[in-house]
Symmetry: C2
Subunit: 467 residues, 2 copies
């Protein structure tokens, strides 16, 4: 029974099917907006809690800045208006009348946060000022795609000010590697490429943009998070200056960095398969689902015990004994939702004192003694987590080709990632790639690590189609 | 040194001073909007985490609905448009051009949530449908007051659908008592009055509104949270119907309930004093602050050990050894921020093997052996929590008068709460109170419990000025 369009035949349609059947999200009533359904939101809450704890561990604090920004703020930073202008939602009426100055719904909070950073930064003792915000932002989208590109989305945006360039650079790098990369590799089970953006792909106003790029199931790249060094450009536009230890006034050095509900899109597209979503156990809102094969009193009592036992052991577990839904339907549903492990048990199992553990990642099933469930499940979850990472890495490696010139890169990037010497792209190379709808996703060292500067010799770059 | 305007002389100005000096919030650049500063936001995060866990314990799940609502949705529910219309912020431009249909920035999500509840409710098996959302909402304010009335604020709004009235009523009551009242009494240390709103004060469209009312430091009432039974009115407007077990279609019975950043305003105004904020320990982002009297190496080493010891014991502790700030300034700052307990230690204490514990609630100081800190602090925090509740209750009782007619109620309510028989208000009584800027805050049983209906005999009501 084909619940979903096959992933290999029509990837975009498969993606839409997963969103609907796994009850992750729906279109909102205003074009381009999104309803995040409870299961999708539970995934976001777990992403948020994990990323938030990592951000706080770097010393940053959360705050909340207003949704509405005076239009004049966006004019202040000319470069930016050009970047966002067609994407702005503008409020012209409030309090029952036309506003004297229209206000813009934040496409990012950087201008308003810049204003307050300037106010709060007086002396070098106030630095570093490390702020983060979780909020909704709006960028009008004409071709929306749920979780990937919607007019409204949820994100965190960090904005920091530092006494010098070295401190700003070190902090942007720390957020990038210790927060984002660690979260993506160890929780999302996604092997992400780390690197610098080219000058062309850099964030407007940044002197350096760090990116994390993941490969999706169709071989395309998705930018999962970015960290920017803004040099003194942003501080100059917003007068973020301070009295130094030397008694002189100095402009601060700032950074910004963000991650969003787009990560949910990446999770689906990187790990999903023809049966639906696959969620790595460390992220999964429900790690284990317990499924009695039949509606039978003795069986229900036993599965309740198993469920409670697993819950007491710290496993995020749910019992699905919904009446009126066949065992097959419940299995299909658990698969669609990507629940990492199913505990399946029928009357015959009960009689034999055994139970079946089914893994979502490999579809493998093992029968074990009923009494071993509590002892076996945690290790099995660890194994699923590791295997999902390994499988994603193997899939990416299989679709990544080392090439030596642009022509080869164009060919390889039609089905996956092309890696080539950054020097081989040369002047005008990015323009040629753009003609083929390809971009340089990132520049990195040959060993895959983050270069300290774009001028290091022997740098390589990754070329791909991208979302 | 008077840091704040005296609370007894000019309460509104004292409130503004606390917001500024304790670094809780600031005005946003667009009139009526608010910047929640890191310390204020840390308080909100703790409120949110606690309330969220309690909401989830009742079986509700979180979701996220769009910020933008088609203008037509608000017209659908006529009663509501009248209620909100002058408060709406309207987006007329998006994507660089004028929109065909203007969209409204949500003043509440009830219309859009209603739309999806209708979609998701097919059979009685889908009920109860228990949804909650944490989000920002916008209601244009011409006379803003930070945390109490701002054009944008943060809140949670719950919306649920049930098969019958009894189930809806029981759930609204459960949220009201087990979530809101429990949180306010046991975490916020606020004695809240529980009751029903009068028909006049009821939420538009509700058949019953439950409220929690707290007394502020100036004797006025603040509505801290409400839960509404919406009968079938809302389900009728949004076609939330279902196929019953009897094979017939029925309209659902719905509820809604909310709490917001307004609770921070209530916290400040109920517990604050002339030295600033006072935060109950169970809520406090920082429960204990460790203050070395001087900048001295041996002392700093010892205070670091104490800090780490308390942290390991699960206390939310911070060390304030900021150079360049006198001990007095750091004490004043800790008082402004309402940190429940200070651990103060100087070189002489160190020599004597002693340390001073200072309580924020009573200003009491005790000197104890240094080695007893870990053993004494947790119990002291419990004591502060209980004492803050007791003190707030005593203050409320001292300003509450039992009266028997409207004239006496008007007099008593000029300085506090008046309690009188609901029957004594009579027809037209509320209109007379309104002339004196007074309202019936709630109707309750003589023993302070929640009545099952507004028709019970011997009900009493509370009359007061209110925010
Ligand atoms: Zn910028
Ligand atoms: Zn309504």
């Amino acid at each position: 029974m084909a619940i979903l369009s096959p992933r290999g035949e029509d990837f975009p349609r498969w993606y839409q099917d997963v969103l609907a059947k796994a009850e992750l999200a729906d279109n909102g009533p205003v074009r381009g907006t999104m309803v995040i359904r409870p299961y999708g939101y539970a995934i976001w809450e777990r992403m948020q809690a994990d990323v938030d704890a990592r951000i706080k561990a770097t010393g940053a604090v959360n705050a909340y800045f207003p949704l509405f920004i005076p239009e004049s703020y966006l004019r202040r930073e000319a470069q930016h208006v050009e970047g966002f202008s067609p994407e702005l939602a503008v409020v012209t009426h409030g309090g029952g009348k036309e506003l004297e100055e229209p206000v813009v719904v934040r496409p990012t909070s950087e201008t308003v946060i810049g204003e307050y950073m300037a106010k709060w930064t007086q002396s070098y003792r106030d630095l570093p000022l490390l702020l983060n915000q979780w909020a909704n932002v709006v960028r009008w989208e004409l071709r929306p795609r749920l979780f990937l590109r919607t007019s409204e989305f949820l994100w965190q945006e960090g904005h920091t000010a530092h006494v010098d360039q070295a401190d700003a650079a070190a902090y942007a790098r720390r957020i990038h590697l210790e927060v984002y990369r660690e979260f993506m590799t160890s929780v999302l089970a996604l092997p992400v490429l780390v690197g610098r953006k080219t000058a062309k792909e850099r964030f407007a106003g940044a002197i350096n943009t760090l990116t994390l790029e993941a490969m999706m199931g169709d071989g395309k790249a998705l930018q999962m998070a970015t960290s920017h060094e803004l040099g003194q450009n942003f501080a100059r536009a917003f007068d973020i200056d301070f009295l130094g230890a030397d008694g002189q006034r100095h402009l601060a050095w700032t950074t910004s960095w963000g991650s969003s509900t787009r990560m949910i899109g990446g999770l689906i597209m990187a790990h999903g398969d023809d049966n639906g979503l696959r969620i790595p156990p460390r992220l999964a809102p429900v790690q284990v689902i317990v499924l009695p094969v039949r509606d039978d009193a003795a069986l229900l009592e036993r599965v309740s015990q198993i469920t409670e036992g697993l819950r007491a052991a710290g496993v995020r577990v749910q019992l699905d004994a919904r009446p009126g839904l066949s065992f097959g339907r419940r299995v299909t549903d658990a698969e669609l939702k990507g629940i990492p492990v199913r505990v399946e048990i029928g009357p015959r199992d009960l009689a034999a004192g055994s139970v079946t553990l089914a893994r979502r990642d490999t579809s493998e099933k093992i029968t074990i003694p009923l009494d071993d469930v509590l002892a076996r499940v945690p290790a099995l979850l660890d194994d699923v987590q590791q295997n999902m990472y390994d499988a994603a890495l193997a899939a990416r490696d299989a679709r990544t080709r080392d090439v030596s010139d642009l022509a080869e890169a164009v060919e390889a990037a039609s089905v996956g990632f092309a890696r080539l010497p950054w020097a081989a792209v040369g002047d005008g190379g990015e323009a040629k790639l753009a003609e083929e709808s390809l971009t340089v996703r990132c520049i990195q060292r040959p060993d895959g690590t983050l270069p300290d500067s774009g001028d290091e010799p022997d740098l390589v770059c990754i070329v791909a189609r991208a979302y």
